[in-house]
């Protein structure tokens, strides 16, 4: 990536230009309402189409995506996004339909959603699926509102606490708070598993649920899962899954069998729909029968008159005025149908193989806090390098100079100087080897020349950015008159 000349839309705006021509009015003009309703001025940039395309193309060249190169961002499952799924989502019959159209004018869309509900329930070993949540965190919101409604329906309003492992995503405690719950943190033990004693002491008649990411955010499968499920259920609680890491269990293991009552998925991670630079996502919730009446509305039901949008009897309500991110669902549906059961299994097996390969190759150079077989991702620590003067952030920035997107860093918080690497199944051995080589070279640089890392990146369109300044003096927009 080369240095660029920085400019913004107002810099290329000139009165009289436009990027789009619109038709003349073909009906008689009506009288406009009184002046108080009318806008006096509208200060938007005026740019021609050619300039616009050049501007946004230059921006795109300053952006790194999965199509640009290896993107081992832990917990984000940055796998390749099949191109033809985009084509399918753009079929006019899927793209140009209105959410309020009568059900019998959209049977194809409803059938696709119904079948996706069924397939996701099968993949997770659950009884029912709600497709309404528009991303993972909204799926978590749905999960915990269902937990709340479930306990209330049984007269157990006293269950006001949610247990959250210390390694959990920030969305877990944030969601619990949004749903009015108090959060209790459960520590991990020395092996990276959940501390069962703490769980047993906190899981009492005031606790509503344990939210558990499986495999955990340490990239480890907790072999105590049956004991965990037993403790939670014996004391009247629910076991709620964060499905962010489903990629390692796809086609191999079912959340339902593990004892989960509910799991939220991320179609934009596991099911290959692109992230779009931060969305759109889709965060379906799959539940056992005990929670199915509480699912968010709408769900698709199959009746005598065909498929219909329906509201479950004790639904927590709507999460959006429309029915969820259908455009994303189409791509996930295509993914599952194109792979089938065997194909999904191949996904998880190759994802886990790739992660373990990286772990073995990198552990002589980077501290490995939990030296055991990992699942779809490996969490290393940069503490050896930090002692030499190059912190995890510096390693991440230096990777940019080698042409790689850095892994997730400083998460999970339970690992000092965490470097969380998730290669996914769509990367070749050659790519992994090139990444390993870069990481090893960087480890060497950290020893000999930590300043090189501290000042990295050196080859990106901008150098390291001043985040403190951004937060102290927030400049969040331009203004034009």
């Amino acid at each position: 990536m080369k240095k660029h000349k920085h400019y913004l839309l107002p810099d290329i705006s000139k009165p009289g230009k436009t990027g789009c021509r619109l038709p003349e009015l073909d009906v008689p003009a009506a009288e406009l309402p009184s002046r108080e309703f009318l806008r006096q001025e509208l200060a938007l940039p005026e740019v021609s189409e050619a300039e616009l395309v050049r501007y946004f193309t230059s921006l795109s060249r300053m952006n790194y995506g999965v199509d640009t190169g290896f993107y081992p961002l832990g917990s984000c499952t940055m796998k390749y996004n099949p191109k033809w799924h985009e084509d399918i989502a753009r079929f006019p019959g899927f793209q140009d339909i209105h959410p309020c159209q009568p059900a019998d004018t959209v049977p194809g869309a409803l059938q696709l959603m119904y079948e996706l509900q069924e397939m996701l329930a099968e993949i997770t070993g659950m009884d029912a699926t709600g497709l309404a949540p528009m991303a993972g965190a909204q799926g978590e919101l749905a999960s915990l509102l269902m937990v709340r409604a479930y306990h209330h329906s049984r007269g157990e309003n006293r269950r006001r606490r949610i247990l959250v492992p210390d390694s959990a995503h920030g969305t877990n405690p944030a969601t619990a708070a949004m749903c009015g719950f108090e959060v209790n943190t459960i520590p991990s033990n020395g092996d990276g598993n959940l501390d069962l004693k703490s769980l047993a002491s906190l899981m009492n008649e005031d606790a509503a649920a344990l939210t558990l990411t499986m495999p955990t955010t340490l990239g480890l499968f907790d072999p105590q899962i049956s004991e965990i499920s037993a403790v939670v259920h014996k004391r009247g609680g629910l076991l709620i899954g964060d499905g962010a890491n489903l990629n390692s269990l796809l086609g191999k293991v079912k959340f339902g069998d593990l004892g989960f009552d509910c799991v939220q998925l991320n179609l934009h991670k596991t099911f290959s729909t692109p992230h779009g630079g931060g969305g759109p996502g889709s965060g379906p919730v799959c539940v056992k029968e005990n929670l199915s009446d509480f699912l968010p509305a709408p769900i698709v039901a199959k009746g005598k008159e065909g498929y219909q949008l329906a509201k479950p009897p004790k639904s927590i309500g709507r999460l959006g005025a429309a029915g969820g991110n259908f455009g994303v669902m189409v791509k996930a549906y295509a993914y599952i149908r194109s792979l089938g059961a065997e194909g999904l299994k191949e996904v998880s097996e190759n994802a886990v193989l790739n992660a373990n390969y990286l772990k073995e190759k990198l552990k002589p150079y980077y501290h490995l806090p939990y030296d055991r077989t990992c699942m779809h991702e490996v969490v290393l620590s940069g503490k050896k390098q930090k002692a030499k003067g190059a912190a995890t952030l510096d390693i991440a920035k230096r990777l940019l100079d080698y042409g790689f997107h850095p892994p997730t860093v400083y998460f999970p918080q339970v690992v000092e100087e965490a470097i969380m690497i998730e290669p996914t199944e769509t990367e070749s051995k050659e790519t992994l080897d090139a990444f390993i080589e870069a990481m090893i070279e960087i480890a060497g640089e950290a020893e000999k020349n930590p300043e090189l890392l501290q000042n990295a990146p050196h080859s990106t369109p901008v150098r390291r950015l001043d985040e403190v300044r951004a937060a102290r003096k927030p400049d969040l927009r331009w203004k034009m008159k």
């Binding site: 990027g19 789009c20 073909d26 009906v27 009506a30 009318l38 509208l42 938007l44 940039p45 005026e46 616009l52 395309v53 795109s60 300053m62 952006n63 033809w84 399918i88 079929f91 019959g93 209105h98 959410p99 159209q101 869309a109 991303a135 919101l141 509102l145 944030a174 708070a177 009015g180 072999p223 269990l249 086609g251 191999k252 293991v253 779009g276 630079g277 931060g278 969305g279 309500g317 999460l319 005025a321 429309a322 259908f326 455009g327 599952i336 194109s338 089938g340 065997e342 996904v347 390969y357 000042n455 901008v462 390291r464 985040e467 951004a470 937060a471 927030p474 969040l476 927009r477 331009w478």
Partner: protein, 434 residues
């Protein structure tokens, strides 16, 4: 044949297992208790691109697409013209295959475009600051209500009865966890309790007509409450923005800005507010800063409000939002510019009034409200709207939304620049012939 998405060969896998020191892939799953592993999955057999495209094209053709039908449905999601340039920019895979821009130096493209988005949306709404977007208009309204409760330290939210009922329901869902009470007020309400954290008003409202925003702002502010306005971004090409009417928080469904309907999603939750409330704002925000050489650049900022830093004390749990939809809105607003957006709004306004007037003249039909409106209006019909819609469908017309639960035999019709005059005339003549 092997999967096109798994590049490693058997040979690669064998070599990797050797390096790991494992005898088989099964060994790597040893932490999963054996009885949970390799259970059967009952899924349809895999299909190739060629086969599945064919199947899904046929499935998609069973839907009445607006490609083939004239459409007069609105009610929160709208069919507007999308210039070709929008799809070509959002189709750059450097944008659409990227994750949330956590590594700023490798994500300047999306970060700078979000900064443009925040700026354009503020210019449009006449508001001081914007976040990078939420899921959709309704969840943005819900987040606005929760934010108002945090700011005001109150637990009741007043929502006008003329707000989209779907939005009211989503505000209710979001508020339920924290026992926030939602009170529905008629537009002519006499009393406004000082227990309300905010008043939520939609402009133009669900029935299409304009509310007296300034009056509501005075009432809300007089009672120590915030005014939350749900606006239609296209209407702002012609009509007064919420920022000039006393809005403290202004939210909108951003889908009409350059995005297809997609059966209701993805959408885009536009979220703007007054600068003094920055620290209570939900969602990501991008700020401009400099790099170590003094060059301008962009980063995610004010992260101490967010879940990945603040956990249970965050302003919201939102993480992934609708970045690509926001990019489409950015390109759309830039392409339309000052004159284009005004023209779109004018086309909607005049065509909607042309249609409304013509239908109003038909025997048995009348406009339900007298107030000024933008592109939507309610018609009282001589028959139940459901029946009328059945008949329209036979003529390849998708009629309006049935609002007979609120207005006797009421149908909410929407006309945009996408409806040609012949199409409108056809609607009028079919309605007249019923």
């Amino acid at each position: 044949m092997p999967s096109p998405y798994i590049p490693n060969t058997d040979h690669d896998r064998a070599a990797m297992l050797r390096d790991i020191g494992a005898g088989s892939i099964a060994e790597l799953f040893q932490d999963v208790p054996a009885h949970f592993r390799d259970v059967p999955f009952d899924l349809p057999p895999p299909l190739t691109e060629l086969e599945l495209k064919e199947e899904l094209r046929n499935l998609s053709r069973r839907n009445a697409s607006l490609d083939e039908y004239a459409c007069f449905l609105g009610a929160g999601r709208y069919r507007h013209f999308v210039p070709g340039v929008v799809g070509h920019i959002t189709g750059r895979s450097e944008f659409y295959t990227a994750y949330t821009p956590y590594q700023a130096e490798a994500s300047q493209g999306i970060l700078q475009s979000i900064y443009e988005y925040q700026s354009l949306v503020c210019q449009l709404a006449g508001m001081e600051i914007s976040n990078a977007g939420l899921y959709d208009g309704s969840s943005a309204a819900a987040e606005a209500a929760l934010m108002a409760c945090r700011i005001a330290g109150k637990k009741e939210v007043a929502v006008l009865s003329t707000v989209n009922p779907g939005y009211r329901e989503v505000i209710g869902t979001y508020g339920s966890g924290q026992n926030i009470a939602i009170k529905e007020l008629r537009p002519d309400f006499k009393e406004f309790s000082s227990d309300y954290a905010c008043l939520v008003v939609q402009q133009p409202n669900f029935f299409g007509y304009f509310e007296e925003l300034k009056r509501y702002a005075e009432i809300a502010h007089g009672a120590g409450a915030l005014l939350v306005v749900i606006f239609d971004p296209i209407s702002l090409g012609l009509f007064t923005p919420p920022g000039s009417c006393g809005a403290d928080i202004a939210v909108a469904e951003g889908q009409p800005l350059g995005n297809p309907l997609h059966f209701g999603g993805p959408g885009l939750g536009i979220f703007t507010c007054r600068r003094e409330h920055l620290r209570q704002m939900p969602g990501r925000v991008v700020g401009r800063t400099t790099d170590i050489e003094g060059q301008a650049g962009y980063v995610l900022t004010m992260a101490t409000r967010e879940q990945h830093i603040r956990r249970e004390r965050a302003t919201s749990n939102i993480c992934t939002n609708e970045a690509l939809v926001a990019l489409a809105a950015t390109v759309y607003l830039a392409a339309m510019g000052k004159s284009g957006l005004r023209r779109v709004a004018e086309l909607c306004y005049h065509k909607a009034h042309y249609a409304a007037e013509a239908i109003n003249k038909l025997k048995g039909y009348s406009l339900a409200f007298k107030q000024p409106f933008f592109k939507e209006f309610v018609i009282q019909c001589p028959l139940p709207p459901e029946k009328i819609n059945r008949m329209l469908l036979k003529e390849k017309i998708i009629g309006g939304l049935d609002v007979s639960h609120r207005v006797d035999n009421g149908m909410l019709l929407c006309v945009t620049e996408m409806n040609s005059r012949p199409e409108i005339d056809r609607l009028v003549s079919v309605l007249g012939a019923l």
